[in-house]
């Protein structure tokens, strides 16, 4: 948190190098979160670029006041959702696209190296938006429920129950997958 504050102060002073530090700090988490919604690494990279360039532009104009991590995660999730809408897909039919990934020239199979990864992303992307966002914020963003509640303007109870229901669903999905095998 302190580090985040210092980086934002550096940005406010116009030190562009702070952007590198912020990018390096969050890039993998953000990309993972985008893939978990889109099941497509190339699209996820596009989202990451949009989010980060958008952030740089905002940081150039104003002094950023938000909780940086929460802000970036929310931004990438919004981008990913918009991307799905643009592609005319819902989270569930994005899965079908992911299920189709078999060939090596497919971007996902290039980067999502093994079956477990694919399986996890497939299953995560099946979750409804509100459960998915809470789960990825907590597990990939390492945000506390209280922080998530603040970011999403929800009560802690709601966040916790969304998380719990989401995990229950994941359990069911994994069970079905295992049974299919």
């Amino acid at each position: 948190m302190l580090e985040e504050k210092a980086l934002l102060q550096k940005l406010a002073r116009g030190e562009a190098d702070a952007l590198d530090c912020i990018y390096n700090k969050y890039k993998d988490d953000l990309l993972t979160i985008a893939v978990s919604r889109l099941c497509d690494v190339h699209l996820a990279e596009d989202c990451l670029q949009d989010v980060f360039v958008g952030f740089a532009e905002e940081a150039g104009k104003f002094q950023i006041q938000h909780n940086l991590k929460g802000y970036l995660i929310s931004s990438i999730l919004n981008r990913a959702r918009n991307q799905l809408k643009k592609e005319g897909k819902t989270s569930s039919n994005a899965i079908e696209a992911c299920d189709d990934i078999q060939t090596s020239d497919n971007p996902v199979s290039n980067l999502v190296e093994n079956e477990t990864k694919r399986e996890v992303f497939n299953v995560l992307a099946k979750l409804p938006d509100e459960q998915h966002e809470v789960i990825v914020m907590h597990l990939y963003g390492e945000m506390k429920f209280r922080e998530i509640a603040k970011q999403l303007k929800l009560s802690i109870n709601t966040v916790q129950s969304r998380y719990r229901y989401g995990l229950e669903k994941l359990k069911t999905f994994f069970t079905i997958k295992e049974e299919e095998k």
């Binding site: 990279e45 360039v53 150039g60 104003f62 789960i135 990939y140 994994f174």
Partner: protein, 424 residues
């Protein structure tokens, strides 16, 4: 089936890493954009020091008074775009610089209510940057006398006293907001001249003669999309002074304006009496210094709560409640004590505390609807469905029109009511 912990571990273990070429591309692009935007906005970004200098001039001293005067300042700036032989911004600035007093009467839009206001300001004859000011409407009174200020909110019947409005700790909220706006955007300083030329391209001007006085006036329309704001001003071409103004929080000048400054009276004699502040009978008086101390104590409680040290947090919240019973922080602290008890599994104590909060602070527009919500939850913990239902319903009643019905706690209360009804 995998247990939850294992699923959490599994998800956490699966990550995707960015490729080096992607990193380079994004990083370079982001830095390039950052530097470009920074350069562009630096041209218009008022530095605080500049702002302080500007604050000494009579024109911008108006800005410190109240947010509604945004229109006056913006108006002066917008007029620059109209620089014609009949009119130049320097003339308006110069004309305003000679002002010793100003009275503005108009209407403020408070939600759906239109509230008349009167604003009076008198600048020190020594030109030392000091001024006396009074803003009065049915909703509030703000008086500034030199460096001391009073604010009074009719609905809360509360007076707040600021011993030194110029110190950062004593600065009034509006003034702080004003500084923040100055820091964040270039609208309200001279820097706006350049910015406006770049961005506000839908301005319109019309020259007309006033039927009553025969004087020529200019009518100005302008909007600024990034702030979703639009303005309308009337300025006399002879005196160069603004005579009427409107400000909307949309770019199309749709609906009633947020503020309509209907009349401007310059250099009228204003006696000392105008700037006297009398504490209304029965009003609660709060000294801002006390409020700050209370905030610090409350923040300590919040930190302990965050650290899940609920027992210690209760002690600190209780101290805040007992030490500052008349401040809003007392109500919040009491509610937080209830939440801590609930976290500690002390359901009975939680209920007693929430009920106490409602009993003691039920008339405050603070967290009372949230307290009802948590009370409902505490009753639910105990299986007392009827009482829980009643508390959730009270939450909705208390929050109606104040809180967003689609957000916490109203939304959650509605959901819990449905859940309880299904169980019945």
């Amino acid at each position: 089936m995998k247990p939850s912990e294992k699923i959490e571990e599994l998800i956490k273990s699966v990550r995707v890493e960015t490729r080096q070429q992607t990193d380079r591309l994004i990083s370079d692009k982001a830095k390039e954009i950052f530097i470009e935007t920074r350069k562009a906005s630096d041209r218009y970004r008022p530095k605080l020091s500049i702002w302080r200098i500007i604050m000494r001039s009579p024109i911008t001293k108006l800005a410190a008074a109240a947010v509604m005067l945004f229109i006056v300042i913006s108006g002066v700036i917008i007029l620059d775009k109209l620089a014609t032989p009949a009119w130049a911004i320097e003339q308006t600035v110069k004309a305003l610089g000679k002002i010793r007093t100003l009275v503005i009467c108009g209407e403020d839009n408070w939600g759906s209510e239109i509230i008349p206001f009167k604003f009076q300001i008198r600048f020190s004859e020594d030109d030392n940057g000091k001024f006396d000011m009074r803003f009065e409407s049915e909703k509030q009174i703000i008086v500034v006398r030199g460096t001391k200020a009073w604010t009074y909110l009719h609905d809360e019947n509360t007076v707040k006293i600021y011993e030194d409005v110029t110190s950062s700790s004593g600065m009034m909220r509006d003034l702080r907001i004003w500084y923040k706006i100055a820091e964040l955007n270039p609208w309200i300083t001279g820097k706006m001249l350049a910015a406006l030329k770049l961005f506000a391209d839908d301005w319109q001007e019309t020259y007309e003669k006033d039927e009553q006085t025969g004087q020529e006036r200019v009518f100005v329309n302008c909007s600024f999309k990034p702030l979703s704001s639009s303005f309308w001003f009337v300025c006399e071409t002879e005196s160069k002074l603004i005579v009427e103004g409107k400000y909307w929080r949309n770019t199309e000048r749709q609906g009633p304006p947020v503020c309509h400054a209907k009349s401007f009276t310059y250099n009228e004699e204003l006696s000392d009496k105008v700037f006297d502040f009398q504490v209304p009978e029965g009003a609660k008086v709060i000294n801002r210094n006390e409020e700050q101390e209370a905030d610090i104590l409350f923040a300590r409680g919040e930190k302990l709560f965050e650290e899940k040290d609920f027992t210690e947090a209760i002690k600190v919240y209780r101290e805040a409640y007992e030490k500052y019973p008349n401040l809003n922080v007392a109500e919040t602290s009491l509610m937080m004590i209830g939440i801590c008890h609930r976290k500690l599994g002390e359901r009975e104590k939680a209920i007693i505390t929430f009920e106490k909060t409602i009993r003691e602070y039920g008339d405050m527009k603070g967290w009372i609807e949230s307290t009802y919500f948590y009370l409902g939850c505490a009753y639910m913990d105990q299986g007392q469905k009827d009482k829980a239902l009643e508390a959730f319903q009270n939450c909705i009643i208390m929050g109606e029109g104040i809180r967003d019905s689609d957000k916490f706690p109203l939304k959650d209360a509605r959901e819990n009511i449905e859940r309880l009804k299904k169980k019945k």
